[in-house]
Amino acid sequence: MRLYLEFVRRVFRRNAAYKVQYFTGLFNALLGLFIGVAIWRAAYGGSDIIDGIGKQEMVTYAVLGVLMRTLLTMNEYLIDSKIRSGEIAVDLLKPYHFLGYVLSVIIGDMIFNLWTKVLPVLIVSILVFHLTLPADPTAALLFLISLVLGFLVLYGFNLIFWLSAFWFHQTWSILTIKNAVILLVSGATIPLWFMPQSLADILAALPFKDIYFTPLAIYLGQVSGNEIVKALVVQAGWIIILHGLAALLWNRAQSKLVIQGG
């Protein structure tokens, strides 16, 4: 365990070495914030309420969407580049779990994002957009739980795509498509309640909504009581399925590498 904490620490510090990348990332997040809010304000026009969702609520949704996306920005090419450079051999030669290392890198990046990008953008949002706060501490806590589960759903989903590099060698195109799909149907930009009913029904059966939409709906109090528990259980279920698949894929990848030599 100590080893993985040491990984996280180093990844955090490595991020700090790239100042230009940091400032462009921060600028990007701020830009996303203002654009997201502007679009929804324009969409609402003169009306204060659409489909039972208030304008201020929707602004809060957009702001939180940007914050979550900033937080959950992951290094998509970690495994891809290790395979292509052959560096994966060096990792396999070390007595640690490679996937534990990958998770440590992602968490290290996330902690860096949290302190240096999410916090400043959050402060700007509160000052400029008067963010709606959660109704009570319980709601805030449930949101945080759902947020962590949402991260794990996204991470499991991503891991499956990242590990595909063992077979495809080039993952840029499929990762780009994957990210576009997530952006559209996970609730990261458009809440599911504004989707056509038929599409919303399909999306309800898929794991995408469990990344962004579920935590955000809980924050805004759109889910209540038993429904919250149900939503959390669904998230947990997808985590088990996606991570199980990823583990299966990793075993296949390892034996492919060891028997076939990449």
Binding site: R13, R14, V90, I259, Q260
Partner: protein, 344 residues
Amino acid sequence: MSLIQVRDVRKEFQIARKREGFWGSVKGLFSHHYDTKIAVDGITFDIQSGEMIGFIGPNGAGKSTTIKMLTGILVPTSGEVTVLGRTPHKNREMNAANLGVVFGQRTQLWWDLPLIESIELLKYVYRIPENQFRRTLGMLSDLLEVNAFMNTPVRQLSLGQRMRGDLLAALIHEPPILFLDEPTIGLDIIAKERIRDLLVTINRERGVTVLLTTHDMADIEKTCDRMIIIDQGSLIYDGKLAALRAQYGKIRRLRVDFRNEPRSLQLDGAVLVNQEGLRCWFDFDKDDITASQLIARISEQEEIVDLTIEEPEIESIIKEIYEASSDAARQAKGEQEEQVLQLI
């Protein structure tokens, strides 16, 4: 028992066959045709504790495949590999604790962080007790002279410094075996010398068994007693460097500067290979004629102003061996094809 045993090891790869043209590539996505490529074709050798061995061969000869089987990253198709009495791929993590590995073209150091950060991380990776870690670190950093740049980010180090940092990282858990894959690649002549001296010290004073692959024959000459040469997956030489020289390097080249334009020289046992004005080059076999005999014969006929005798570089000996082995392989292949034709 030997530290490392390799017994009749074979490694085949299945390589997906590439098809021609657009439709070929589309078909390739759905159905697979594999070609079998033999990377290592039944090699056997033993390495004793404390040896320092040069492991050489042309590109694609099967060197890194062999090294990867020794580390346990690859499983042999057949045959047996044993390192410290264990099968590497069945005990990869345990085997890893006994190995230090340096790939000259890569680094295991964290690029953006000070060198010490990568080294301290290895303390946790190998679970090295704190006082043992401090002791080893102290000894190794004095030996490798890395103290001056211990707190410099790795990306700011020169290639020679980085290589010393990589050696430190490979040795910090005090492995009895060190694998080096082209450790001097890209280094300037002084940095090369320094790495070679360090490798010799690590081998002699710390008793680490070293297996070194390289394309720079000077690396081998200056560090290794024993040399293993493989080509096209087969072992073609395993023995002392000196014996190799004696076996292959019998031809000497004599360069002579004459006072006057030489007339046709009558020389038994030597061949005129080149002439530029008053300067001539002769090749001779030192078993047929001694240098002094040859010089005596020449000076009987012409007046010599200056001369030198060149011993063949180890490189040209190796080149001769590679060429002989690929000729043999080509011949074997030709015969096979002939047989096939006869069958038709």
